[in-house]
Symmetry: C2
Subunit: 265 residues, 2 copies
Protein backbone atom coordinates (compact mmCIF):
# COMPACT_ATOMS: atom_id res chain seq x y z
CA UNK A 1 0.00 0.00 0.00
CA UNK A 2 2.65 2.50 0.98
CA UNK A 3 4.25 3.39 -2.28
CA UNK A 4 6.53 0.94 -4.01
CA UNK A 5 7.21 -0.81 -0.73
CA UNK A 6 10.43 -2.74 -0.58
CA UNK A 7 11.38 -6.22 -1.53
CA UNK A 8 10.68 -8.14 1.58
CA UNK A 9 11.71 -11.59 0.60
CA UNK A 10 15.07 -11.24 2.27
CA UNK A 11 13.37 -11.29 5.62
CA UNK A 12 11.39 -14.44 5.20
CA UNK A 13 12.33 -17.38 7.34
CA UNK A 14 14.73 -18.62 4.72
CA UNK A 15 17.89 -18.76 6.84
CA UNK A 16 19.68 -19.79 3.67
CA UNK A 17 20.07 -23.41 4.73
CA UNK A 18 23.81 -22.97 4.94
CA UNK A 19 23.41 -25.15 7.97
CA UNK A 20 24.25 -23.96 11.46
CA UNK A 21 24.20 -20.30 10.64
CA UNK A 22 20.94 -19.32 12.29
CA UNK A 23 19.01 -21.84 14.33
CA UNK A 24 17.04 -18.84 15.54
CA UNK A 25 18.19 -18.48 19.11
CA UNK A 26 14.76 -17.13 20.02
CA UNK A 27 12.35 -19.82 21.08
CA UNK A 28 9.12 -20.06 19.18
CA UNK A 29 6.93 -19.42 22.22
CA UNK A 30 8.96 -16.42 23.34
CA UNK A 31 6.22 -14.00 22.43
CA UNK A 32 5.56 -12.07 19.28
CA UNK A 33 7.55 -9.06 20.40
CA UNK A 34 10.74 -11.04 20.95
CA UNK A 35 10.25 -12.92 17.70
CA UNK A 36 9.75 -9.86 15.53
CA UNK A 37 12.48 -7.96 17.34
CA UNK A 38 14.91 -10.76 16.65
CA UNK A 39 13.85 -11.04 13.04
CA UNK A 40 14.29 -7.36 12.33
CA UNK A 41 17.42 -6.96 14.42
CA UNK A 42 19.04 -9.88 12.64
CA UNK A 43 18.02 -8.58 9.25
CA UNK A 44 19.47 -5.16 9.96
CA UNK A 45 22.72 -6.28 11.57
CA UNK A 46 23.32 -8.81 8.84
CA UNK A 47 23.03 -6.11 6.23
CA UNK A 48 20.05 -7.68 4.52
CA UNK A 49 18.28 -4.42 5.26
CA UNK A 50 20.70 -1.84 3.94
CA UNK A 51 21.16 1.53 5.64
CA UNK A 52 18.82 4.05 4.11
CA UNK A 53 16.12 1.50 3.36
CA UNK A 54 12.70 2.56 4.51
CA UNK A 55 10.21 0.34 6.29
CA UNK A 56 6.53 0.98 6.92
CA UNK A 57 4.71 -0.10 10.02
CA UNK A 58 1.67 -1.38 8.15
CA UNK A 59 3.77 -3.40 5.75
CA UNK A 60 5.76 -4.92 8.58
CA UNK A 61 2.58 -5.77 10.43
CA UNK A 62 1.31 -7.61 7.36
CA UNK A 63 4.55 -9.35 6.52
CA UNK A 64 5.24 -10.48 10.08
CA UNK A 65 1.59 -11.35 10.62
CA UNK A 66 1.32 -9.35 13.80
CA UNK A 67 -0.56 -6.26 14.84
CA UNK A 68 0.76 -2.76 14.48
CA UNK A 69 1.21 -2.47 18.24
CA UNK A 70 3.80 -5.22 18.22
CA UNK A 71 5.63 -3.66 15.31
CA UNK A 72 5.59 -0.23 16.89
CA UNK A 73 7.03 -1.51 20.16
CA UNK A 74 9.74 -3.37 18.26
CA UNK A 75 10.63 -0.28 16.24
CA UNK A 76 10.83 1.82 19.38
CA UNK A 77 13.31 -0.63 20.86
CA UNK A 78 15.33 -0.74 17.65
CA UNK A 79 15.34 3.04 17.60
CA UNK A 80 16.69 3.15 21.15
CA UNK A 81 19.51 0.90 19.95
CA UNK A 82 20.29 3.29 17.14
CA UNK A 83 19.44 0.72 14.48
CA UNK A 84 16.56 2.66 12.96
CA UNK A 85 15.18 6.16 12.91
CA UNK A 86 11.47 6.69 12.48
CA UNK A 87 10.08 9.99 11.29
CA UNK A 88 6.60 11.18 10.50
CA UNK A 89 5.51 11.17 6.93
CA UNK A 90 8.75 9.38 5.99
CA UNK A 91 8.69 5.96 7.57
CA UNK A 92 11.29 4.00 9.46
CA UNK A 93 14.76 4.29 8.04
CA UNK A 94 17.67 1.92 8.66
CA UNK A 95 20.60 3.80 10.11
CA UNK A 96 24.25 3.23 9.14
CA UNK A 97 26.26 0.85 11.28
CA UNK A 98 28.24 3.73 12.73
CA UNK A 99 25.11 4.84 14.58
CA UNK A 100 24.43 1.52 16.25
CA UNK A 101 24.87 1.07 19.99
CA UNK A 102 27.59 -1.52 19.59
CA UNK A 103 27.72 -1.95 23.35
CA UNK A 104 24.18 -3.23 23.53
CA UNK A 105 24.31 -6.96 24.33
CA UNK A 106 21.47 -7.62 21.93
CA UNK A 107 23.22 -5.85 19.09
CA UNK A 108 26.38 -7.81 19.84
CA UNK A 109 24.46 -11.08 19.64
CA UNK A 110 22.96 -10.11 16.31
CA UNK A 111 26.32 -9.12 14.93
CA UNK A 112 27.92 -12.32 16.16
CA UNK A 113 25.27 -14.19 14.22
CA UNK A 114 26.02 -12.21 11.07
CA UNK A 115 28.90 -12.01 8.65
CA UNK A 116 30.28 -9.17 10.79
CA UNK A 117 31.16 -11.84 13.30
CA UNK A 118 34.89 -11.40 12.86
CA UNK A 119 34.77 -7.62 13.06
CA UNK A 120 32.75 -7.85 16.24
CA UNK A 121 35.15 -10.35 17.67
CA UNK A 122 38.14 -8.20 16.87
CA UNK A 123 36.63 -5.01 18.31
CA UNK A 124 35.71 -6.63 21.56
CA UNK A 125 39.03 -8.39 21.90
CA UNK A 126 40.90 -5.14 21.39
CA UNK A 127 38.69 -3.44 23.92
CA UNK A 128 39.28 -6.26 26.32
CA UNK A 129 43.01 -6.00 25.78
CA UNK A 130 42.84 -2.37 26.78
CA UNK A 131 40.58 -2.75 29.78
CA UNK A 132 41.62 -5.88 31.62
CA UNK A 133 45.17 -4.80 32.55
CA UNK A 134 43.76 -1.59 33.97
CA UNK A 135 41.13 -3.60 35.79
CA UNK A 136 43.80 -5.84 37.28
CA UNK A 137 45.71 -2.81 38.52
CA UNK A 138 42.59 -1.34 40.09
CA UNK A 139 41.67 -4.67 41.62
CA UNK A 140 45.08 -4.75 43.31
CA UNK A 141 44.08 -1.53 45.06
CA UNK A 142 40.48 -2.31 45.84
CA UNK A 143 39.92 -6.06 46.10
CA UNK A 144 38.80 -7.29 49.50
CA UNK A 145 40.85 -10.08 51.09
CA UNK A 146 38.04 -12.53 50.29
CA UNK A 147 37.93 -11.53 46.66
CA UNK A 148 41.70 -11.86 46.39
CA UNK A 149 41.59 -15.30 47.98
CA UNK A 150 38.88 -16.40 45.59
CA UNK A 151 41.04 -15.29 42.69
CA UNK A 152 43.99 -17.32 43.91
CA UNK A 153 41.69 -20.27 44.33
CA UNK A 154 40.28 -19.85 40.83
CA UNK A 155 43.76 -19.71 39.35
CA UNK A 156 44.59 -22.94 41.17
CA UNK A 157 41.47 -24.65 39.83
CA UNK A 158 42.33 -23.46 36.35
CA UNK A 159 45.71 -25.05 36.72
CA UNK A 160 44.11 -28.32 37.77
CA UNK A 161 41.56 -28.27 34.96
CA UNK A 162 44.28 -27.42 32.47
CA UNK A 163 46.45 -30.31 33.64
CA UNK A 164 43.48 -32.67 33.54
CA UNK A 165 42.66 -31.56 30.02
CA UNK A 166 39.11 -30.72 31.06
CA UNK A 167 38.41 -28.17 28.37
CA UNK A 168 34.80 -27.25 29.20
CA UNK A 169 35.63 -26.77 32.85
CA UNK A 170 38.67 -24.71 31.94
CA UNK A 171 36.58 -22.39 29.79
CA UNK A 172 34.08 -21.93 32.60
CA UNK A 173 36.82 -21.15 35.11
CA UNK A 174 38.54 -18.82 32.67
CA UNK A 175 35.37 -16.77 32.25
CA UNK A 176 34.80 -16.80 36.00
CA UNK A 177 38.35 -15.68 36.69
CA UNK A 178 38.17 -12.67 34.43
CA UNK A 179 34.73 -11.82 35.73
CA UNK A 180 36.07 -11.84 39.26
CA UNK A 181 38.97 -9.56 38.35
CA UNK A 182 36.65 -7.06 36.72
CA UNK A 183 34.25 -7.28 39.65
CA UNK A 184 37.08 -6.58 42.07
CA UNK A 185 38.09 -3.55 40.06
CA UNK A 186 35.09 -1.80 41.55
CA UNK A 187 34.10 -0.33 38.20
CA UNK A 188 30.58 -1.15 37.12
CA UNK A 189 31.36 -0.54 33.45
CA UNK A 190 34.19 -3.03 33.52
CA UNK A 191 31.81 -5.61 34.91
CA UNK A 192 29.30 -5.00 32.16
CA UNK A 193 32.08 -5.30 29.65
CA UNK A 194 32.84 -8.73 30.99
CA UNK A 195 29.30 -9.79 30.24
CA UNK A 196 29.86 -8.77 26.65
CA UNK A 197 33.12 -10.67 26.51
CA UNK A 198 31.46 -13.74 27.99
CA UNK A 199 28.88 -13.39 25.25
CA UNK A 200 31.70 -13.56 22.75
CA UNK A 201 33.48 -16.46 24.41
CA UNK A 202 30.37 -18.61 24.55
CA UNK A 203 29.41 -17.38 21.11
CA UNK A 204 32.86 -18.33 19.89
CA UNK A 205 32.23 -21.76 21.25
CA UNK A 206 28.76 -21.88 19.72
CA UNK A 207 30.10 -20.93 16.33
CA UNK A 208 33.03 -23.32 16.75
CA UNK A 209 35.40 -20.52 15.92
CA UNK A 210 38.16 -21.34 18.28
CA UNK A 211 38.96 -24.18 20.61
CA UNK A 212 40.63 -22.88 23.71
CA UNK A 213 43.69 -24.86 24.65
CA UNK A 214 45.45 -23.73 27.79
CA UNK A 215 49.20 -23.73 27.87
CA UNK A 216 51.75 -23.56 30.62
CA UNK A 217 52.48 -19.85 30.29
CA UNK A 218 48.86 -18.76 30.36
CA UNK A 219 48.27 -20.73 33.54
CA UNK A 220 51.29 -19.13 35.17
CA UNK A 221 50.15 -15.64 34.17
CA UNK A 222 46.74 -16.19 35.71
CA UNK A 223 48.37 -17.30 38.94
CA UNK A 224 50.61 -14.22 38.81
CA UNK A 225 47.65 -11.89 38.41
CA UNK A 226 45.87 -13.42 41.37
CA UNK A 227 48.92 -13.29 43.56
CA UNK A 228 49.76 -9.71 42.61
CA UNK A 229 46.23 -8.60 43.38
CA UNK A 230 46.35 -10.29 46.76
CA UNK A 231 49.58 -8.47 47.52
CA UNK A 232 48.26 -5.14 46.30
CA UNK A 233 50.94 -4.95 43.63
CA UNK A 234 49.12 -3.10 40.89
CA UNK A 235 52.01 -2.92 38.48
CA UNK A 236 52.72 -6.61 38.56
CA UNK A 237 49.03 -7.43 38.21
CA UNK A 238 48.80 -5.16 35.20
CA UNK A 239 51.89 -6.64 33.55
CA UNK A 240 50.77 -10.22 34.04
CA UNK A 241 47.34 -9.40 32.62
CA UNK A 242 49.00 -7.72 29.65
CA UNK A 243 50.69 -11.02 28.91
CA UNK A 244 47.39 -12.88 29.09
CA UNK A 245 45.83 -10.36 26.75
CA UNK A 246 48.72 -10.60 24.33
CA UNK A 247 48.18 -14.30 24.08
CA UNK A 248 44.43 -13.94 23.68
CA UNK A 249 45.08 -11.37 20.99
CA UNK A 250 47.45 -13.70 19.17
CA UNK A 251 44.92 -16.49 19.23
CA UNK A 252 42.28 -14.15 17.86
CA UNK A 253 44.61 -12.83 15.22
CA UNK A 254 45.15 -16.34 13.94
CA UNK A 255 41.38 -16.56 13.56
CA UNK A 256 40.77 -13.47 11.51
CA UNK A 257 43.81 -14.03 9.39
CA UNK A 258 42.81 -17.60 8.66
CA UNK A 259 39.23 -16.80 7.77
CA UNK A 260 40.00 -14.52 4.88
CA UNK A 261 36.66 -13.27 3.71
CA UNK A 262 33.71 -12.90 6.03
CA UNK A 263 30.70 -15.04 5.38
CA UNK A 264 32.79 -18.15 5.63
CA UNK A 265 32.06 -20.61 8.38
Amino acid sequence: MQGGSWNWYVLSVVTPSTGEAAPSLVAAQAGLHARVLDELGTAICSGQLAPGSVLYIDDLADQCAVSRSVVREVLRVLASMGLVDTRRRVGTQIRPASDWNVFDPQVIRWRLASADRIVQLRSLTELRTAVEPQAAALAAERATPDEASDLVGLAAKMWAAGKAGNEAEFLRLDIEFHRQVLLSSGNEMFVKLQELVAEVLTGRHHYALMPHYPDEHALQHHADVAQAIQRHDGERARDAMVHIMEQAMNEMRSIWERTGVPGRD
Copy 2:
Protein backbone atom coordinates in the same frame (compact mmCIF):
# COMPACT_ATOMS: atom_id res chain seq x y z
CA MET B 1 -7.08 0.15 41.02
CA GLN B 2 -4.23 -2.31 40.90
CA GLY B 3 -3.76 -3.24 44.52
CA GLY B 4 -2.08 -0.86 46.89
CA SER B 5 -0.38 0.88 44.02
CA TRP B 6 2.74 2.79 44.91
CA ASN B 7 3.25 6.26 46.15
CA TRP B 8 3.60 8.12 42.94
CA TYR B 9 4.27 11.61 44.14
CA VAL B 10 8.00 11.22 43.71
CA LEU B 11 7.50 11.24 39.98
CA SER B 12 5.53 14.44 39.73
CA VAL B 13 7.11 17.33 37.92
CA VAL B 14 8.58 18.63 41.12
CA THR B 15 12.22 18.91 40.04
CA PRO B 16 12.93 19.99 43.57
CA SER B 17 13.59 23.59 42.68
CA THR B 18 17.17 23.20 43.78
CA GLY B 19 17.82 25.30 40.75
CA GLU B 20 19.79 24.01 37.78
CA ALA B 21 19.56 20.37 38.70
CA ALA B 22 17.00 19.26 36.12
CA PRO B 23 15.74 21.73 33.56
CA SER B 24 14.29 18.69 31.82
CA LEU B 25 16.56 18.28 28.84
CA VAL B 26 13.60 16.94 26.88
CA ALA B 27 11.71 19.66 25.09
CA ALA B 28 8.02 19.91 25.83
CA GLN B 29 6.99 19.27 22.24
CA ALA B 30 9.25 16.25 21.86
CA GLY B 31 6.34 13.84 21.77
CA LEU B 32 4.66 11.92 24.54
CA HIS B 33 6.89 8.90 24.18
CA ALA B 34 10.08 10.89 24.73
CA ARG B 35 8.54 12.78 27.61
CA VAL B 36 7.34 9.72 29.51
CA LEU B 37 10.52 7.80 28.73
CA ASP B 38 12.58 10.61 30.17
CA GLU B 39 10.39 10.89 33.24
CA LEU B 40 10.56 7.21 34.05
CA GLY B 41 14.22 6.81 33.13
CA THR B 42 15.15 9.74 35.33
CA ALA B 43 13.05 8.45 38.21
CA ILE B 44 14.65 5.02 38.01
CA CYS B 45 18.25 6.14 37.58
CA SER B 46 17.91 8.66 40.36
CA GLY B 47 16.77 5.96 42.72
CA GLN B 48 13.38 7.54 43.33
CA LEU B 49 11.97 4.28 42.06
CA ALA B 50 13.81 1.69 44.11
CA PRO B 51 14.78 -1.68 42.65
CA GLY B 52 12.06 -4.20 43.32
CA SER B 53 9.28 -1.62 43.13
CA VAL B 54 6.42 -2.65 40.91
CA LEU B 55 4.68 -0.44 38.39
CA TYR B 56 1.41 -1.06 36.57
CA ILE B 57 0.72 -0.01 33.03
CA ASP B 58 -2.76 1.30 33.75
CA ASP B 59 -1.58 3.31 36.72
CA LEU B 60 1.25 4.82 34.73
CA ALA B 61 -1.12 5.68 31.90
CA ASP B 62 -3.35 7.52 34.35
CA GLN B 63 -0.59 9.27 36.23
CA CYS B 64 1.24 10.38 33.11
CA ALA B 65 -2.01 11.24 31.36
CA VAL B 66 -1.19 9.22 28.28
CA SER B 67 -2.60 6.12 26.70
CA ARG B 68 -1.48 2.62 27.48
CA SER B 69 0.21 2.35 24.07
CA VAL B 70 2.65 5.08 24.98
CA VAL B 71 3.39 3.53 28.34
CA ARG B 72 3.86 0.09 26.83
CA GLU B 73 6.32 1.38 24.25
CA VAL B 74 8.25 3.21 26.94
CA LEU B 75 8.40 0.14 29.15
CA ARG B 76 9.62 -1.97 26.26
CA VAL B 77 12.48 0.47 25.71
CA LEU B 78 13.31 0.58 29.40
CA ALA B 79 13.29 -3.21 29.45
CA SER B 80 15.75 -3.32 26.56
CA MET B 81 18.01 -1.06 28.61
CA GLY B 82 17.81 -3.45 31.53
CA LEU B 83 16.11 -0.89 33.76
CA VAL B 84 12.88 -2.81 34.23
CA ASP B 85 11.55 -6.31 33.81
CA THR B 86 7.92 -6.85 33.01
CA ARG B 87 6.19 -10.15 33.63
CA ARG B 88 2.65 -11.34 33.27
CA ARG B 89 0.45 -11.21 36.28
CA VAL B 90 3.20 -9.44 38.24
CA GLY B 91 3.65 -6.05 36.66
CA THR B 92 6.75 -4.12 35.76
CA GLN B 93 9.55 -4.42 38.26
CA ILE B 94 12.51 -2.07 38.65
CA ARG B 95 15.75 -3.97 38.26
CA PRO B 96 18.85 -3.40 40.38
CA ALA B 97 21.45 -1.01 39.03
CA SER B 98 23.83 -3.89 38.32
CA ASP B 99 21.49 -5.01 35.54
CA TRP B 100 21.41 -1.68 33.71
CA ASN B 101 23.07 -1.22 30.35
CA VAL B 102 25.51 1.35 31.64
CA PHE B 103 26.89 1.76 28.13
CA ASP B 104 23.60 3.06 26.77
CA PRO B 105 24.01 6.79 26.07
CA GLN B 106 20.53 7.46 27.39
CA VAL B 107 21.24 5.68 30.65
CA ILE B 108 24.46 7.63 30.99
CA ARG B 109 22.59 10.90 30.57
CA TRP B 110 20.05 9.94 33.19
CA ARG B 111 22.77 8.94 35.61
CA LEU B 112 24.69 12.14 34.99
CA ALA B 113 21.54 14.02 35.93
CA SER B 114 21.21 12.07 39.14
CA ALA B 115 23.11 11.86 42.39
CA ASP B 116 25.10 9.01 40.84
CA ARG B 117 26.78 11.68 38.76
CA ILE B 118 30.16 11.23 40.42
CA VAL B 119 30.10 7.45 40.20
CA GLN B 120 29.24 7.66 36.52
CA LEU B 121 32.01 10.17 35.96
CA ARG B 122 34.55 8.03 37.73
CA SER B 123 33.60 4.85 35.89
CA LEU B 124 33.82 6.47 32.51
CA THR B 125 37.07 8.20 33.30
CA GLU B 126 38.66 4.95 34.42
CA LEU B 127 37.42 3.26 31.29
CA ARG B 128 38.81 6.07 29.22
CA THR B 129 42.13 5.79 31.00
CA ALA B 130 42.28 2.16 29.99
CA VAL B 131 41.16 2.57 26.40
CA GLU B 132 42.79 5.68 25.02
CA PRO B 133 46.44 4.59 25.35
CA GLN B 134 45.57 1.38 23.53
CA ALA B 135 43.70 3.40 20.92
CA ALA B 136 46.74 5.64 20.42
CA ALA B 137 48.95 2.60 19.90
CA LEU B 138 46.52 1.13 17.37
CA ALA B 139 46.20 4.48 15.63
CA ALA B 140 49.96 4.54 15.17
CA GLU B 141 49.62 1.32 13.19
CA ARG B 142 46.49 2.10 11.26
CA ALA B 143 46.05 5.86 10.82
CA THR B 144 46.14 7.09 7.24
CA PRO B 145 48.61 9.87 6.44
CA ASP B 146 45.71 12.34 6.24
CA GLU B 147 44.37 11.34 9.64
CA ALA B 148 47.82 11.67 11.16
CA SER B 149 48.27 15.11 9.64
CA ASP B 150 44.92 16.21 10.98
CA LEU B 151 45.97 15.09 14.42
CA VAL B 152 49.17 17.11 14.28
CA GLY B 153 47.16 20.09 13.12
CA LEU B 154 44.66 19.67 15.94
CA ALA B 155 47.44 19.53 18.50
CA ALA B 156 48.83 22.75 17.08
CA LYS B 157 45.45 24.46 17.28
CA MET B 158 45.07 23.27 20.84
CA TRP B 159 48.39 24.84 21.65
CA ALA B 160 47.26 28.13 20.13
CA ALA B 161 43.91 28.09 21.91
CA GLY B 162 45.61 27.22 25.18
CA LYS B 163 48.05 30.11 24.82
CA ALA B 164 45.25 32.49 23.90
CA GLY B 165 43.29 31.37 26.95
CA ASN B 166 40.30 30.53 24.77
CA GLU B 167 38.74 27.97 27.06
CA ALA B 168 35.63 27.09 25.07
CA GLU B 169 37.62 26.60 21.89
CA PHE B 170 40.16 24.53 23.75
CA LEU B 171 37.48 22.21 25.09
CA ARG B 172 36.06 21.76 21.60
CA LEU B 173 39.48 20.97 20.15
CA ASP B 174 40.28 18.65 23.03
CA ILE B 175 37.16 16.60 22.36
CA GLU B 176 37.87 16.61 18.64
CA PHE B 177 41.46 15.49 19.17
CA HIS B 178 40.51 12.48 21.24
CA ARG B 179 37.69 11.64 18.85
CA GLN B 180 40.14 11.64 15.98
CA VAL B 181 42.57 9.36 17.80
CA LEU B 182 39.82 6.87 18.56
CA LEU B 183 38.56 7.10 15.00
CA SER B 184 42.02 6.39 13.65
CA SER B 185 42.30 3.36 15.89
CA GLY B 186 39.96 1.63 13.48
CA ASN B 187 37.88 0.16 16.28
CA GLU B 188 34.21 0.99 16.13
CA MET B 189 33.71 0.37 19.83
CA PHE B 190 36.42 2.85 20.72
CA VAL B 191 34.66 5.44 18.62
CA LYS B 192 31.34 4.83 20.36
CA LEU B 193 33.13 5.13 23.64
CA GLN B 194 34.30 8.56 22.65
CA GLU B 195 30.71 9.61 22.16
CA LEU B 196 30.03 8.59 25.73
CA VAL B 197 33.05 10.51 26.96
CA ALA B 198 31.99 13.58 25.03
CA GLU B 199 28.64 13.22 26.73
CA VAL B 200 30.45 13.37 30.02
CA LEU B 201 32.68 16.28 29.08
CA THR B 202 29.82 18.45 27.91
CA GLY B 203 27.75 17.22 30.85
CA ARG B 204 30.60 18.17 33.13
CA HIS B 205 30.48 21.61 31.63
CA HIS B 206 26.70 21.72 31.93
CA TYR B 207 26.83 20.79 35.59
CA ALA B 208 29.76 23.15 36.18
CA LEU B 209 31.68 20.32 37.72
CA MET B 210 35.08 21.14 36.41
CA PRO B 211 36.62 24.03 34.56
CA HIS B 212 39.19 22.75 32.13
CA TYR B 213 42.40 24.68 32.32
CA PRO B 214 45.12 23.53 29.96
CA ASP B 215 48.67 23.49 31.18
CA GLU B 216 52.02 23.33 29.44
CA HIS B 217 52.59 19.61 29.98
CA ALA B 218 49.20 18.56 28.68
CA LEU B 219 49.73 20.52 25.50
CA GLN B 220 53.12 18.91 24.98
CA HIS B 221 51.69 15.42 25.53
CA HIS B 222 49.00 15.99 22.92
CA ALA B 223 51.63 17.08 20.44
CA ASP B 224 53.69 14.00 21.32
CA VAL B 225 50.75 11.69 20.70
CA ALA B 226 50.07 13.23 17.30
CA GLN B 227 53.71 13.09 16.26
CA ALA B 228 54.17 9.52 17.44
CA ILE B 229 51.09 8.40 15.53
CA GLN B 230 52.35 10.09 12.39
CA ARG B 231 55.65 8.27 12.75
CA HIS B 232 53.96 4.93 13.48
CA ASP B 233 55.61 4.76 16.86
CA GLY B 234 52.95 2.89 18.82
CA GLU B 235 54.85 2.69 22.07
CA ARG B 236 55.57 6.40 22.23
CA ALA B 237 51.98 7.23 21.33
CA ARG B 238 50.74 4.95 24.07
CA ASP B 239 53.09 6.40 26.66
CA ALA B 240 52.22 10.01 25.85
CA MET B 241 48.52 9.19 26.03
CA VAL B 242 49.06 7.51 29.38
CA HIS B 243 50.43 10.80 30.66
CA ILE B 244 47.40 12.68 29.38
CA MET B 245 45.12 10.17 31.04
CA GLU B 246 47.01 10.39 34.29
CA GLN B 247 46.45 14.08 34.35
CA ALA B 248 42.77 13.74 33.47
CA MET B 249 42.46 11.16 36.21
CA ASN B 250 44.09 13.48 38.73
CA GLU B 251 41.73 16.29 37.81
CA MET B 252 38.78 13.95 38.22
CA ARG B 253 40.09 12.63 41.49
CA SER B 254 40.19 16.13 42.85
CA ILE B 255 36.52 16.39 41.93
CA TRP B 256 35.20 13.32 43.64
CA GLU B 257 37.34 13.85 46.67
CA ARG B 258 36.23 17.44 47.02
CA THR B 259 32.52 16.74 46.63
CA GLY B 260 32.18 14.49 49.61
CA VAL B 261 28.55 13.54 49.61
CA PRO B 262 26.56 13.23 46.41
CA GLY B 263 23.63 15.53 45.95
CA ARG B 264 25.81 18.57 46.33
CA ASP B 265 26.07 20.91 43.37
